[in-house]
Amino acid sequence: MSALASHTIPTEERRPAFSRLVTVELRKMVDTRSGFWLPIGVAAITLITVIISALVHHGHEATLAHLFRNSLMPGSFLLPILGILLVCGEWTQRTTLATFTLVPDRGRVLSAKMAASLVFSVGAFVVCLACSAVFAELVGNAPGGAGGIGIAVLGQGLLFLMTAMLIGVAFGAAILVSAPGIVLYLLLPTIWNALAGAIHSLESVGNWLALGNTWSDLPQGNLSGTQWAQVGTTLALWLVLPMAIGWYRFRTRDVN
């Protein structure tokens, strides 16, 4: 404390800028022991996936678009878990005590975490594209060279990773505890799919609401209007709904 404390808060005082909050959230993602190794692990698994899919057909189907689609699979599975940990880690490790006493507007904290996830997804997208480009060039011997890649495939691939990680953030915010958050994230879609498979009347809604169907077809590129609508309804159930619950719980829950 300086020699003479004013004991009032200057009226011109500003909140920490949102961009700074996002930077800090990104820093938090990688500055712990587990945080450091998880993204490296995701990148490594992505690389291995690309190598395997490049070699498995002796390069015959190793077009850039094919490798790129395959490269997204590990990320689409692991980024939601990173998203869950990004939110729940703070509640489990109780660093929320420090975070919320520095940024009392918890909605800004959660928004910063969402923004940080989007930035992280872009990073993951770049890794996926780089790995697939390198191996398409090295191994690809399909007719017409390594083959081009449509802007739709790239854009929808990016959207796929972004929504995957946001779904994790939403589940994390709704559940707030790491282990149950991850378990529920893995179980609920599986249970849903099993139900839809078993109960005939649910089968028709499967494409509209199951994560495994239309949403995961995003990287294929050419989606019809109906399919886009199906992506929308699926995301409403698995992203918007848990995010709405999470937005409420994250902001109102007492910190222990």
């Binding site: 404390m1 404390a5 808060i9 005082e13 920490p16 006493t101 520095l102 009392p104």
Partner: protein, 320 residues
């Protein structure tokens, strides 16, 4: 400046904190004292916006906590020293908050030096820290934004005697420069040496508050043994001095040692033991006020039984 107005926190039918009002003035250290489970932490969390009061309100520096744009620049908070990411290095823990607050990175090193965490300790992961080191890191974290108000929950927990002396100096100095300190403890001796004012909380309610002298009252209390207690007792009563008998048979007179000595001389009674028991007055008051609450506090919490045992043994020493 801290103002708490009728803060109440209910969990179902149970009131963890009930109608708690107090204020803390700049330049003072206020000790928030009570057994574990009395509602201290819940109250502090409500002040800092970490828990939402069922009713009541509070302001810090004239505003509710949530309305302060960059609270870390004004209010240093340490609610629980063990609430740090165990996989993050000590220095990084501070550097993250420094970035958020917008203070320079060199401030991090200054604070580490201030709390006595050297370079090798700062480079370790917090998971490897002892409780005392976490406490020091937590205090460094609270001081990072150069605040004018400190809210510390059980800051002495895990500190060795040297650490406690260090912290006492640090907080006295902070208040001496005009800062406001509110710290909690379940151990009276931890706070009575630092605090100007005490708020004793039991069962979620404020049981007593004031300066040490106000709490004990300015009535002096003297323990005395003599060759003829019966005669001394009548003589003291002759001077309108209230006398009671302690458990071990010694007399407790509501008078100064000088007065009791004079009475004994005039009565011709030889003294065997004479001493002021004022020092124990606060301890006795704390024990009396919180005794009922102790029984209600969760028995699994070792701190509660320890504080009760300490209080009762000191009480017996005082009486003896």
């Amino acid at each position: 400046m801290i103002e708490a107005n009728s803060l109440t926190k209910r969990y179902g039918a149970r009131a963890a904190v009930q109608d708690v009002s107090f204020s803390c003035a700049p330049g003072t250290v206020t000790g928030f004292l009570g057994p574990n489970g009395a509602g201290k932490s819940t109250t502090l969390k409500m002040l800092c916006g970490l828990a939402h009061p069922t009713s009541g309100s509070s302001t810090l520096l004239g505003r509710p906590f949530s309305q302060i744009p960059n609270p870390g620049r004004h209010i240093g908070v340490l609610i629980d020293a063990s609430a740090a990411h165990s996989g993050r290095r000590g220095r990084e823990t501070l550097a993250l908050s420094a970035q958020l607050l917008g203070v320079s990175d060199s401030r991090v090193d200054e604070m580490l030096e201030l709390v006595g965490l050297d370079k090798s300790a700062a480079a370790k992961r917090v998971g490897q820290y002892s409780l005392g080191m976490r406490q020091r890191l937590g205090i460094a974290h609270a001081l990072l934004g150069d605040p004018e108000l400190l809210i510390l929950d059980e800051p002495a927990n895990g500190l060795d005697p040297e650490g406690m002396r260090w912290m006492r100096g640090l907080l006295r100095d902070f208040a001496g420069r005009g800062g406001t300190v509110l710290l909690s403890s379940h151990l009276l001796h931890e706070v009575e040496a630092i605090a100007d004012r005490l708020i004793i909380i039991a069962d979620g309610k404020i049981a007593a508050e004031g300066t040490r002298d106000e709490l004990v009252g300015d009535k002096a209390m003297t323990r005395v043994r003599s060759a003829d207690d019966h005669a001394l007792r009548s003589a003291l009563r002759g001077f309108a001095i209230d006398v009671s008998v302690a458990d071990d048979g010694a007399l407790l007179a509501e008078a100064t040692t000088e007065q009791v000595g004079d009475v004994a001389l005039s009565a011709g009674v030889a003294l065997r033991e004479l001493g002021s028991s004022r020092a124990g007055g606060l301890e006795r008051l704390f024990f009396e006020l919180t005794q009922g609450a102790d029984a209600d506090a969760p028995s699994s919490d070792p701190g509660t039984s320890i504080s009760a045992m300490e209080a009762s043994s000191t009480l017996q020493e005082t009486v003896r």
